[in-house]
């Protein structure tokens, strides 16, 4: 019995001791010093170097240049956290002083009406709109006088391919049209060796809409009408686009049926194991793990094909859309005001300056959005980097709608259903149109 009492007593002491010191730390903020709290994205492939960069390089340097400003930061690494932080801050008018959002989140952030629209004076403080890639700014707001986001990194999409499998199949250069893509993939595919021309990931939460939207754009369609009032996910180009993607499994047999349960990470693993010829919609963030994989000497990036299947050239209204305007934007919430707001703008100016942008690339893998960062910088003088930059020039912005987030989720629901139908042998091609029609109705109801 003695022991039990002792245990109880020590447990109480322990837990009280663990909770007490924390309550003291709350009330220490001096009035003179302005504190900035950053909320920044990290990807686990880079998380340690990224946090180290903030801790050891960016923040000390900024605080040295701007005495009187203190910078803290917290990180997120999933869209779940990104979403909930935005939602909780919006509901409570408290939270980080600067948000870093993925570009496809910016329209949703804009819809919450909780971020500062940057004035021309603000832009002047950041260093002017002109220092940025024009395409990246297209996701900063609905129109140039209503920008809330400042691009700080970009991440164009490319096609990843396996040079060894290309050599084996006797393919000299990566395809530039989808017809060539299918043909090349057929030559690479050898199911008995579990070797496939390409890979799909219909179970992913985000990849499906990216693929569907890109192919739809190339055929001249879009998911929303120009005025953002009408959903057009059930339009003919959109149906053709999604049908084509699943045809890779059902008709051309260039992707494994196993892919029906894949998320993007599974697709990436498959590529890294050396069994996949081509994987579309990949970014430079994949490089660190590619470098340690089986294909470390065989991977290469190329622009994604941009001529629809069965066509010699794009239809007149088709867009190249080799990449979606993609990357990260910084935005300042409205509850940040006065000296803190000025400090936030100073941070953004600092962070998007050439020196920092180049360091971001070197240590984090994101490409600079500051155009000047590309001149006289050796790291960009490689074919791979040129492929990325070339993709970026043809970058297409997604419609700037507050309902885009809903659309992404609904679209993933559609591809999930189709994958299930194929797996359970209940699939008919007409189902795609049906599912897209009900998706269209649902998205329509969330448009404002």
């Amino acid at each position: 019995m003695k022991l039990t009492k002792k245990t109880i007593a020590s447990l109480i002491t322990l837990s009280v001791a663990s909770a007490l010191p924390l309550s003291a730390s709350a009330a220490t903020s001096s009035s003179k010093i302005v504190t900035l709290n950053l909320f920044v994205a990290t990807s686990s492939s880079y998380e340690a170097p990224e946090t180290a960069m903030y801790n050891k390089v960016f923040i000390p340097e900024f605080e040295r240049q701007n005495p009187g400003i203190k910078v803290n930061f917290s990180t997120y690494n999933s869209s779940t956290q990104e979403n909930t932080e935005l939602q909780t801050s919006a509901a409570t008018h408290q939270g980080p002083s600067i948000f870093e959002f993925g570009t496809s989140m910016v329209p949703t952030a804009y819809a919450t009406n909780m971020f500062h629209v940057l004035s021309s004076r603000d832009w002047a403080m950041i260093g002017g709109k002109n220092k940025f890639f024009a395409a990246q700014l297209k996701m900063s707001g609905p129109n140039p006088s209503h920008y809330i986001g400042v691009p700080d990194m970009m991440l164009p999409f490319s096609m990843l391919y396996n040079k060894a499998l290309f050599r084996q199949a006797g393919i000299s250069s990566p395809p530039t049209t989808w017809t060539q893509f299918v043909n090349d993939a057929k030559r690479i595919t050898n199911p008995s060796k579990n070797q496939w021309g390409t890979v799909i990931d219909p179970e992913d939460s985000y990849d499906p809409w990216k693929v569907g939207w890109q192919l739809t754009r190339q055929m001249g369609g879009n998911f929303l009408s120009g005025n953002l009032k009408t959903a057009t996910i059930d339009s003919k180009p959109s149906i053709q686009a999604l049908t084509f993607w699943f045809d890779w499994v059902t008709k051309y047999h260039i992707a494994s049926p196993n892919d029906l349960t894949y998320k993007s990470t599974d697709a990436m693993s498959a590529f890294e194991s050396g069994n996949i010829g081509m994987a579309i919609l990949q970014t430079a963030t994949a490089i660190p793990s590619l470098k340690t994989s089986k294909v470390k000497n065989e991977y290469a990036f190329a622009p994604i094909p941009d001529v629809p299947f069965g066509m010699k050239s794009r239809p007149a209204n088709g867009e190249s859309a080799q990449t979606i305007v993609s990357g990260q934007d910084l935005a300042i919430p409205k509850y940040v005001t006065g000296a803190q707001y000025t400090a936030a703008l100073k941070w953004i100016k600092f962070f998007t300056a050439v020196k920092q942008e180049q360091m971001i690339f070197t240590h984090m893998g994101y490409l600079p959005v500051n155009k000047s960062a590309y001149s006289n910088f050796k790291a960009f003088d490689t074919p791979m980097m040129k492929a990325f930059v070339k993709s970026e020039l043809g970058a297409d912005p997604t419609p700037f709608s507050g309902a885009w987030g809903n659309l992404e989720v609904v679209y993933a629901g559609v591809t999930n259903s189709i994958a299930t139908q194929i797996a359970t042998h209940t699939f008919q091609e007409s189902n795609i149109a049906e599912l897209l029609k009900s998706a269209d109705e649902q998205v329509q109801s969330s448009l404002q």
Binding site: K5, S15, A26, A48, Q81, T265, S269, T285
Partner: protein, 303 residues
Amino acid sequence: MNEQHAIKKNSLMSSGYHVGSRNRRTLNKIRVVGIVVFAAFILLPLAYVVLVSLTPDSEVGGGSILPSYIAWDNYAMMWNTIPLAKNILNSVIIAGGAGVFSTFVALGPAYLVARFRFSGRKSFMLSLITMQTIPQVMMLLPLFVIFIIVQNVLHIVLVGQYYTLIITYMTFALPFACWLLISYMANIPVELEEAALIDGCSRWQVIYRIVMPLIMPGMVVTFVFSFLLGWSDVLFASVLTTPATQTVAVGLQSYLSSGDAGGTVYWGQLMAASLTSGVPVVVIFLFFQRYIVGGLANGAVKG
């Protein structure tokens, strides 16, 4: 049929009473077979986890089962890819705090409900059940709003503090803990307490000197379950923590979510880190095991 019969027989043996030697041999055999089956059931998936944890990251999911070499460095690299040690410590503090506090806070209502009739007693018990059927997901945003209101009124920082998460997990664990302790409490005879009260002990002394020692196994079980509730949560922890207080579940999730950015997952490291993060829990279980099973059997209570 045979097996069912055997299970029943076994119970007698478990009770530790005389059984014929032939009978005992059969029961032993059943136990051995049972343990082997259970061990296989438990260990096969775990073995797979161990195997993956020793596979180079990029070979996982490739199709071959055995790695081309044993990647011990997964166990070295995982400490730097995410702040694993800090995350584990945070989880131990938060889940441990939630476990300890829920157990002690629940002791009061449990004692009251188990020992007294009062109006609202049944409603209280029923409302505990009701609380468990509310999807926790739904509480996330309102709870956050409440925290911010409290934060503004009292001028203290709540988000990102250990105690905020501890309190949050307590609310999941409290209804659980109350129910568990009520049922344990009900099994303890009241005679000892009566005697103590007659001897002039205060209510508090009765609880501290008589009830608590007797109910120790129940308290340990309650602690363990409450601990695990907090240990496993991902959703609330991802909103209510900062990097300094991030729990291990959130840390491990960051391995997975790099896929969002188009990257890949360090499967090998993830599995190595998962196994490592299980160690503190196993240690806690080992430490408390004898209390769970010991306690009541020691003869303090009979009949």
